[in-house]
């Protein structure tokens, strides 16, 4: 369908982003079909406007104008023909949409969790990653998505898929990637301060790379350095979206550098020295102790981080001195 596009830039043409899923060619073909239809109609409308505007410009006060006040044949023609073309667009759009909503039964199942302002991807082996979705090329992948705070929307322009991610129900999308590479994931439902930075990416890789990646995702295991593993968890959970590890740098929440062992002032007026228990409670029940000058908006990580992985994150924060 490349031949439809007016200027060729990348596989999506002038108008569309690169094509990297099985949906892209059909969506783009329909887009360009409508585009050309619109261009032809628009040229016709404006051509007639310009011609009448020139031809029937007022010449003198003695001008006489036409008594035509309608023409049923013409009115029927210009109702029925656009009507039929609209039916074609509707049918084509519906056909593409039907493919998007019915995932093939052999699709790989992954879960996506949206929260202000990061994505968490959960893989079939239970491994998790933050803001990074790794999928094998040429295999169908089905995403089951939910939010733990407000509505977000999961949009991968290169795949031509988008679906809102809602707090009280699962929504799903599926796709089959066709080009190796890395493509942005945008949040497209406004979700507050850092909405425009709730960006992840999809890495389309070979089957072998996908399997290697999955093996590396597991939590901390024997022989792991606890701090190094904690840093991995920190990244995978997207903590860095709100918390800097540079001393004093404010993103949305407070910086986590030079917190452990230091004095912290809370909004209720009390002051305490940050110890392991303070860190643990701030992760499990974040809104119970709000640092002075910040708003209570961090979601809880209870149920998503426990045992050795929680200990590792705490050790990592302790190491940030």
């Amino acid at each position: 369908m490349q031949t439809f596009s007016p200027v060729l830039i990348g596989s999506g043409g002038f108008w569309m982003p690169p094509q990297a899923s099985t949906f892209a060619p059909n969506t783009d073909a329909l887009f360009h079909f409508i585009l050309w239809l619109c261009a032809i109609f628009f040229a016709g409308l404006m051509g007639a406007t310009a011609y009448f505007g020139w031809k029937y410009k007022k010449r003198s006060d003695a001008d006489r104008t036409s008594p035509i006040r309608g023409n049923h044949k013409l009115e029927i023609v210009w109702s029925v023909i656009p009507g039929l073309l609209l039916l074609v667009i509707f049918g084509w759009g519906f056909a593409g949409y039907r493919e998007m909503i019915v995932a093939p039964p052999n699709a790989i199942n992954m879960h996506i969790t949206g929260q202000k302002w990061s994505w968490t991807m959960t893989y079939p082996n239970g491994g998790e990653d933050g803001n990074r979705l790794v999928v094998p090329i040429n295999e169908p992948v089905k995403l089951t998505m939910s939010s733990i705070d407000v509505i977000h929307s999961f949009f991968v322009p290169a795949f031509r898929v988008k679906r809102d991610v809602i707090p009280n129900r699962y929504t799903t999308i599926w796709f089959q990637a066709t080009e190796l590479g890395s493509y942005p994931i945008y949040c497209t439902e406004y979700c507050g301060d850092r909405h425009s930075e709730m960006i992840g990416h999809v890495d389309v890789v070979t089957r072998e790379e996908y399997e290697t990646y999955l093996r590396g995702l597991a939590g901390c295991s024997e022989g792991d350095d606890l701090v190094a593993c904690g840093e991995r968890q920190f990244q995978r959970l997207g903590c860095g979206a709100c918390h800097s590890v540079v001393p004093g740098q404010r993103i949305v929440g407070p910086s986590l550098a030079q917190v452990f062992g230091h004095e912290v002032s809370l909004t209720d007026g009390t002051t305490l020295t940050a110890d392991e228990d303070y860190l643990r409670q701030s992760i499990m029940d974040p809104n119970s102790q709000i640092v002075e000058g910040f708003a209570p908006q961090m979601p809880t990580f209870a149920g998503r981080l426990d045992g050795v992985n929680l200990a590792a994150v705490i050790e990592y924060i302790k190491s940030l001195q």
């Binding site: 104008t65 006040r69 509707f90 509505i151």
Partner: protein, 549 residues
């Protein structure tokens, strides 16, 4: 001069009756007036003020987007600015714009009536508007609003900004809309001049009739929805917030059940204005009077059945999405018929290149793009890609600003001599139209490309590949502003030193041109009688072959 009325009222008996502007004096005489023309003027001043406020917010938004990252303000302020821009432009400007200002002044004049059916209710409508506007201003003082004009739950039930004052403001503004709607419906049914049958009503009146129907039927739904939202925030009653057992998608259904029909409240009066302008300045009868009149009512009706097209990817069922997509294409047909008819009206005419006619050309160009790009969004598979991107932003600006706002401005130029009794500088007026046309396209056409390439809306910062297009768009917004300032200067200059306008500077046939400019307090010195159609211009050569079909 020929006219659709045959009584002998008009400029020649001047002196016995004072114009509505000077009949009474003092601020109090304005604030307590029940004269539809004065209420219309107060509405006009108020909506223009809020257009200015919303416009400044838009310029700040565009300037912030000149580069990725911070140019002017922080995230939180940016989010408040785009919310302010949207909420003010929708609730305080565009919904009341044509009906409550231009419509209020011309409707009774066009019908040959002394006033609207319920003059006090008309004044009450204005005061509801004022209270709603104060609540919006209060919102800015109380910590702003950062939900977007759509108030989507559960973000709106959990944000710390001042949601309650803003939603209550929108709630009160709803009453102002309903009051105007009821008033217009009754006025059109009961107060037409003798001889003005339904098929002799100007198309502006038909458009206001269809608009009023929607206002009266749809506004209560948003009022209830906003009250429920206030209950949820204040008393913790779970309706929309899942944390309290509610459903956020329900909010979206309620919200769009009102807010989609309201799109037609915004655009239908614009259609009405264009029908008047294109006929008067082409000296031609409208092509397909009944088709245009009936299609307004058809759009109003089908407009109630397409709200789900805002929610194709929002979690509504696939079946619902399919039905809504189909109905959306159904509403495209009557809209296309109108555009075809306006263009066909110019055929065989004697077109005068006045400022209002310039705005008709601008409207036809911009609204055609706005309408046609709606086809992309109605098609399910393509909407999945375009939803909540700049493509949508561009589309609705082409419809709302390129359509309604341009029609409003064209209408303001058209009826300005009638409202004020002053002519304006045609060269300045035309210059404003040209600058607005260029600036508008530079600003918003780029946004179609941004959107189709994947740029999401409501973003404070963006990825580097979108930089150039954002720069172009921002520069366009400055050109657009310059055009609007030229229009403002044109009006101010006219008020200060404009030539005196005659009763009928455009030789219009409708009844508002059949009284003095500005009109006398009670509109007509004696009851006009309607004997012809609204577009039976003397230039029309009725004897030409093949006259009627």
């Amino acid at each position: 001069m020929a006219s659709i009325a045959e009584t002998h009222t008009g400029p020649h008996d001047g002196g016995h009756h004072e114009s509505y502007l000077t009949a009474k004096r003092g601020i109090a005489s304005w604030l307590t007036t029940v004269d539809h023309k004065r209420i219309g003027v107060m509405y006009l001043a108020s909506i223009l003020f809020f257009f200015f406020v919303g416009g400044v917010a838009a310029l700040l938004v565009r300037t912030e987007l000149l580069n990725p990252g911070k140019d002017l303000v922080e995230h939180a302020v940016y989010n408040q600015l785009f919310t302010l821009h949207g909420a003010i432009m929708v609730f305080l400007f565009i919904v009341p714009s044509i009906p409550a200002s231009l419509g209020n002044i011309v409707l009774p004049l066009m019908l040959g009536a002394k006033d609207v059916a319920f003059p006090k209710m008309n004044l009450a409508s204005y005061y509801f508007y004022v209270v709603g506007a104060i609540l919006f201003i209060l919102t800015i003082v109380l910590g702003g609003l950062d939900t977007g004009w759509t108030f989507y739950a559960p973000y709106s039930t959990t944000t710390s900004t001042s949601v309650i004052s803003a939603t209550f403001g929108a709630f009160v503004l709803g009453f102002s809309s309903i009051f105007t709607g009821i008033n217009f419906l009754v006025t059109i049914h009961k107060m037409r001049a003798p001889g003005m049958t339904w098929d002799r009503m100007p198309l502006m009146v038909w458009a206001l009739y269809a608009t009023s129907l929607i206002q009266v039927l749809a506004t209560p739904v948003i009022a209830i929805t906003l009250l429920l939202l206030i209950c949820e925030r204040t008393f913790g009653i779970g309706i929309f917030d899942p944390a309290l057992g509610g459903d956020p998608v329900l909010f979206q259904h309620f919200f769009w059940f009102y807010s989609h029909p309201v799109v037609y409240v915004m655009i239908l009066p614009g259609f009405g204005v264009i029908s008047e302008l294109v006929t008067v300045h082409s000296r031609k009868g409208i092509f397909g009077y009944m088709a245009i009149a009936i299609s307004s009512v058809a759009i109003a009706f089908i407009g109630f059945l397409v709200w789900g097209h805002h929610m194709f990817v929002a979690g509504e069922s696939s079946l619902a999405a399919t039905v809504f997509s189909f109905l959306t294409f159904a509403v495209a047909v009557p809209t296309a018929i109108k555009v075809f008819s306006w263009i066909a009206t110019m055929y065989g005419g004697s077109i005068r290149y006045t400022t209002p006619m310039y705005y008709v050309f601008v409207f036809l160009f911009l609204f055609s793009i706005g309408g046609l790009t709606g086809l992309f969004l109605g098609a399910l598979a393509v909407d999945v890609q375009m939803h909540d991107t700049y493509f949508v932003v561009a589309h609705f600006h082409y419809v709302m600003m390129g359509g309604t706002f341009i029609a409003f401005l064209g209408g303001l130029f058209h009826w300005w001599p009638k409202f004020t009794g002053k002519m304006y500088d045609e060269r300045l007026g035309k210059l404003s139209a040209v600058l607005v046309f260029i600036g508008f396209n530079v600003t918003f056409f780029t946004q179609f490309v941004l959107g189709s390439r994947g740029m999401p809306r409501r973003y404070y910062t963006y990825q580097p590949q979108f930089h150039t297009l954002h720069e172009i768009s921002t520069i366009g917004s400055y050109i657009l502003t310059a055009g609007l300032l030229v229009a403002l200067v044109t009006f101010i200059k006219s008020l200060k030193s404009g030539e005196k306008a005659t009763a009928n500077p455009w030789n219009g046939m409708t009844l508002e041109w059949h009284t003095e400019s500005p009109p006398i307090e009670h509109n007509f010195a004696e009851q006009p009688i309607c004997r012809r159609g609204p577009y039976d211009f003397p230039e029309i050569d009725e004897s030409a072959a093949g006259a009627r079909h």
